[in-house]
């Protein structure tokens, strides 16, 4: 129980720092400390993410960091994608797809680090396009 509270706190800090929901930590936390199965943990994690994302968005909006129009567009289209993802998950074997996505994730991580090495802008901004 204390472990669950602690991992929740850490997940929240990571969510605020990096703009992710915190599911990366919620899911293992719910499995390890509260004994949920993988499936229930993923579902429960989604509910836990909602207030975190709402409060985080509110705070960042106060700092003037949220592009509301883009967020709306990405958020609404994600719902269509998610529906497609659930259908796809039931239609294909997961293992290969999962490893492919993991590889893609590593590639994106490398690109991000490369970007920070190339751009030495003193204001820390990314000048590539916008």
């Amino acid at each position: 129980m204390i472990g669950a509270v602690a991992i929740g706190l850490v997940a929240g800090v990571v969510a605020g720092l990096l703009g992710v929901g915190g599911g990366v930590l919620f899911v293992p936390g719910l499995v390890l400390f509260l004994g949920l199965g993988q499936h229930a943990a993923e579902a429960t994690s989604l509910l836990a993410i909602v207030p975190v994302a709402v409060v985080g968005t509110y705070r960042q909006d106060r700092y003037g960091n949220v592009n509301r129009r883009d967020a709306l567009l990405v958020g609404v289209l994600s719902l269509l994608g998610a529906a497609g993802g659930v259908v796809l998950a039931n239609a294909v074997t997961g293992a290969l797809l999962r490893d492919a996505f993991a590889a893609l994730t590593l590639l994106v991580a490398a690109q991000l680090v490369r970007g920070t090495l190339q751009e030495k802008g003193s204001d820390g901004r990314n000048h590539s396009e916008a």
């Binding site: 669950a4 800090v13 703009g19 993410i49 207030p51 994608g81 529906a83 920070t116």
Partner: protein, 126 residues
């Protein structure tokens, strides 16, 4: 003028692609869309790191709320357990967003890359 319109169109198409991919990823693997949205906003649209993370959080509200509601219909959501991790996480996100304001963009990008590596490993091991 034509060029500006093309740019806006191109930008909108990219945002639509990011949203669809984030949703697919989240629907397939039960991860939040953030790990897809943040890097693509930075790499594809030239977003500032801080604005990318903030805008992603706002988009995640939609994805997580919809996902939780759908899973709730199947009876998979444990509300008490969600509160147990979610309540301290709300406190955490207040700390995290505050802390982030003093970090430089490239530092945020590198921390993000580290989290991506962890989530890739988690995907493979699952």
């Amino acid at each position: 003028m034509q060029l500006a319109a093309d740019r806006t169109f191109n930008r909108t198409l990219r945002l639509m692609a990011i949203g669809t991919m984030a949703g697919l990823f989240s629907g397939l693997f039960g991860v939040g869309g953030g790990s897809v949205i943040v890097p693509l906003l930075i790499l594809w649209l030239g977003y500032d790191e801080r604005v990318a993370t903030s805008t992603a959080l706002a988009a995640i509200v939609f994805i997580a709320a919809f996902g939780a509601a759908t899973q709730g219909l199947y009876g998979n959501v444990h509300v008490r357990d969600a509160l147990l991790v979610g309540a301290p996480a709300v406190l955490g996100v207040l700390l995290g967003t505050r802390l982030q304001q003093s970090l430089k963009g490239p530092v945020i990008a590198r921390l993000f890359a580290a989290v991506l590596v962890v989530s890739a490993i988690e995907l493979i091991l699952r």
